[in-house]
């Protein structure tokens, strides 16, 4: 492994939360970096972190996770449009990157850019 998998919002939205996190985690544990359209909820992110730590071993040391919002400054009308779309279609704005920390050394975040530093 060691590839990149991009998972669409459509693929994940119909999965129940447990299966969704299992899919993401199993992919990351197998050594791939996962990119997700949109973002996980705070609860899902916390559950994923706990799950990763419960699985820490010599071969798997945990995960790196980061979210790119895309646009740091939005107008009020754009924020309103985003909320309506979010309400109708779920949270599909931005990009979430999750990868195994054995491969990713660090993800440097800022609201408009992610820098993924590989080992």
């Amino acid at each position: 492994m060691g590839g990149v998998q991009v998972l669409s919002h459509t693929l994940l939205k119909d999965l129940d939360p447990v299966k969704k996190l299992d899919k993401i985690f199993d992919t990351v544990k197998s050594g791939d970096i996962v990119m997700i359209e949109g973002r996980l909820t705070a609860d899902e992110e916390t559950t994923l972190i706990s799950k990763a730590l419960r699985n820490v071993s010599g071969k798997f040391t945990g995960i790196e996770i980061a979210f790119l919002e895309g646009t740091a400054k939005k107008s009020i009308s754009q924020k309103l449009k985003d909320k309506i779309v979010k309400l109708l279609a779920g949270d599909r704005f931005g990009l979430t990157v999750i990868g195994p920390s054995k491969i990713i050394k660090e993800i440097k975040m800022n609201p408009e850019k992610l820098e993924i530093m590989l080992k």
């Binding site: 609860d43 972190i49 990763a52 419960r54 820490v56 945990g62 993800i107 800022n110 609201p111």
Partner: protein, 211 residues
């Protein structure tokens, strides 16, 4: 008339609320100074009899949730009764080889890594048990990372009261303003848990936000 009774009722409940004990959690990433802050608070309240938790420059020194119960913070004639909960630093990865690099033997490093992972899981579980949280961040580091953002979002979702503590203001690289930019919606207090600088501001803010 209704308003009169609702005001009375509000004061009645507020009185009992003020006499309630709150569970105050110290949360944040590893090596941010949570335990140093806990030791400072305990010394301020309990004096020389205060227990002193172990601190270290090596990450994950705190690997169990440490609690001290029945504390009273007094200021300007007011008192907050609370239990202090010092938690292991939240991280998304723990590699025993990092501890080896810090000079530990492989066996010791593996044990520490195992305990540290359990500690983080325990920290996350304890979020449900706290009423209010001091999120302790190292103000010399970039605060914009997913662990900090997830932690704050999770606490907000669970309706926990939050103060962000920008620690290590005694260091040259300290940048409290950057923390204010990343978390503009929360009270930010700059302190040095090592020297005690800013601690009275933190106590004032605790009374403002949690009392």
């Amino acid at each position: 008339m209704t308003s009169f009774f609702s005001n009375k009722l509000f004061r009645f409940f507020k009185f009992f609320k003020k006499n309630q004990k709150i569970s105050l959690g110290l949360y944040g990433p590893p090596n941010a100074g949570k335990t140093t802050l806990a030791n400072l608070v305990l010394k301020d309240i309990l004096g020389e009899d205060a227990p002193e938790f172990s601190t270290s420059s090596v990450e994950h020194e705190t690997r169990n949730v440490q609690t001290v119960e029945k504390l009273e913070l007094k200021k300007n004639g007011r008192t907050i009764n609370f239990n202090l909960i010092d938690t292991p630093g939240i991280a998304t990865k723990i590699d025993f080889e990092d501890f080896v690099h810090d000079g530990m033997k492989k066996k010791e490093a593996k044990e520490r890594a195992m305990e540290a992972t359990q500690g983080v899981i325990e920290s996350i579980k304890w979020i449900d048990s706290v009423d209010a949280v001091l999120i302790v961040l190292d103000s010399t580091l970039n605060p914009y990372n997913q662990v900090n953002i997830t932690l704050v979002a999770n606490l907000v979702n669970k309706n926990k009261k939050i103060i962000v503590v920008a620690n290590k203001t005694d260091l040259k690289k300290s940048n409290t303003e950057k923390i204010k930019l990343v978390f503009p919606d929360y009270k930010i207090v700059g302190i040095s848990a090592k020297t005690g600088e800013g601690i009275e501001d933190l106590y004032d803010t605790i009374f403002k936000e949690f009392y």
